[in-house]
Amino acid sequence: MSKFVRVQIFAVLITAVSSLWALKCGTLETSWSEVWAIFTGSTEPLTVLLRELRLGRVILALLAGAALGVSGTILQKILHNDLAAPEIIGISSGAGCAGLLLLFFFPESINLLGVAAFAGGMLAAVTVYLAAWKQGVDPARLVLSGVAISTLFGAFTAMMMMLNSGKLVGIFEFTLGGVSGKGLVEVRQSLPFFAVVFICAALMKRRLDILSLDDSSAASLGINVELSRLTALALAALAAATAVSVSGLLGFVGLMSPHIARKLGSGSAGKQLLLAGTIGACLCVTGEWLGRIAAAPRELPAGVFLSAAGAVFFLILLLGHRRDGI
């Protein structure tokens, strides 16, 4: 059994254990037999409640985390930059900004949150791409323009929040990131988008490997570099925007997951997508679980823990780069 297979199995096991704990723990104390009943088709009122809400939240956390891991992996591959992630280059902030616009000004249309987040994420991705265009798109310019667009959307979001401070209740969690208040209904609504993301990413894995080479080498292997990079960017935007639409602005998952996957020896894009997706899912569901138990009986958004973990991870990463002389 190769190292990658062992690592992947271990990551899946950790994710499964975290998911089970996230199903068990919460404001409402439950036993393991009641958790088991969720999967046996029991129609007990408590079981139905757990299935509709807690199972839905766990599935959403898993899906959102996996999508952010996939998005981060795609961006790091096509931008040749270890620090590229949807939250760093503006895609998440674009999706979040559009989501907040909807929540502030059209709260009755909350069921369109996914569409708004997707539109915002894509708008950000296209803006980043156009801003970086100069007879083609250079990965370094793409990252720089992404950081600028991210800052711009961040400033706009802050301004909206300042001007609408009276409406912040309930919206605050969206900016922190989390899946509380969600359930199986949101799972059913978002599942087709997540399915498209994961299937397209799997189909693009070899092209991503080629895009991770320099542009001339990539072109010499018979691909249209600009078109392929734009397609991959759009897929990363769809992945991040879909995640934002169900879980708000979960920070650092898209940065941490691909990094951890790479450190664990997933050399090719296919392996890295799989492992980063699993790690992203694990991070989000663990954040969701910690949010339930850390300040029980109150709940904290998963994003609080992920941001804290991400900040520490980011610093470790920078120190590592400094040690390597980069």
Partner: protein
């Protein structure tokens, strides 16, 4: 496969690098592109590979304009080893080589073509090592393996000797001779080390400031006058005891 350039001019960032180049590289031969830094050798190789579109003129492979070839077909016919290629540090050598099979729809690290390319490039011992953990010479061999895995009729090499030690250079020359002999490969190689490259070259093309300076078989085209015009330094030319043409630049010789 004969490579013909007809009145090719190419620009980079608005500046014309190649001016009205017309040359014919013979089929199934090893051709050498000689010239100083910034003379346009790399741009010429990239133009032949279809990576840079010429402003004027056309490049033909065996009588067929490369613009009429689909991208993957082009990649099956022509492979290029660039001067400073990039691959992610975590990519394994075998994975990098396997990318050379993409134009054929394959890509397994265990494909026989990939294993053969790794063997030919002399890097099979490091197949499972990460590119970021290789020495400069090993990296060069790993990228050469990627180009060889394409199994194309035309192989373009941009300073393949750089970062290679004497033994590895010798292996590379032997490999080029063998590939040329066994597969009737056409090779066009840009090199600064003329003494190294003339060991295998059947045809030499000197390029200066984006224009052809001289062309022909080494015995007739490589003269001290031509090399002085091309490189701006005095060069000693002589035949060694095995009859091979040797080139010795007179670097900073004290009078």
């Amino acid at each position: 496969m004969k490579i013909t350039l007809a009145a090719v001019s190419t620009s980079l960032s608005g500046r014309e690098i190649l001016h009205d180049i017309s040359v014919e590289f013979p089929a199934n031969r090893i051709s050498l592109l000689a010239g100083g830094n910034g003379s346009g050798k790399s741009t010429l190789l990239k133009t032949i590979a279809g990576l840079i579109a010429p402003d004027a003129g056309e490049v033909n492979f065996g009588g067929m304009n490369i613009n009429s070839l689909p991208r993957k077909e082009m990649a099956r016919r022509c492979a290029i080893l660039l001067q400073e290629p990039y691959a992610p540090a975590e990519m394994k050598v075998a994975q990098l080589a396997a990318l050379g099979r993409y134009p054929y729809g394959g890509g397994s690290c265990n494909a026989p073509e990939v294993k053969r390319a790794l063997e030919d490039a002399g890097i099979s011992y490091a197949a499972n090592r990460e590119v970021g953990k290789l020495s400069g010479g090993e990296r060069r061999k790993a990228f050469l393996a990627r180009a060889l895995a394409q199994e194309s009729e035309l192989l373009l090499l941009d300073e393949p000797e750089s970062a290679l030690d004497a033994a590895a250079r010798s292996e590379l020359l032997n490999l080029l001779c063998r590939l040329h002999r066994e597969r009737k490969l056409t090779v066009i190689m840009a090199a600064h080390d003329l003494d190294f490259a003339l060991g295998v070259a059947d045809f030499v093309c000197g390029i200066k400031s984006g224009r052809i300076c001289f062309c022909g078989e080494p015995e007739t085209a490589v003269t001290t006058e031509n090399l002085h015009t091309l490189l701006g330094v005095d060069i000693d030319l002589f035949h060694d005891r095995r009859g091979r043409l040797r080139v010795l630049p007179e670097y900073g010789r004290k009078s």
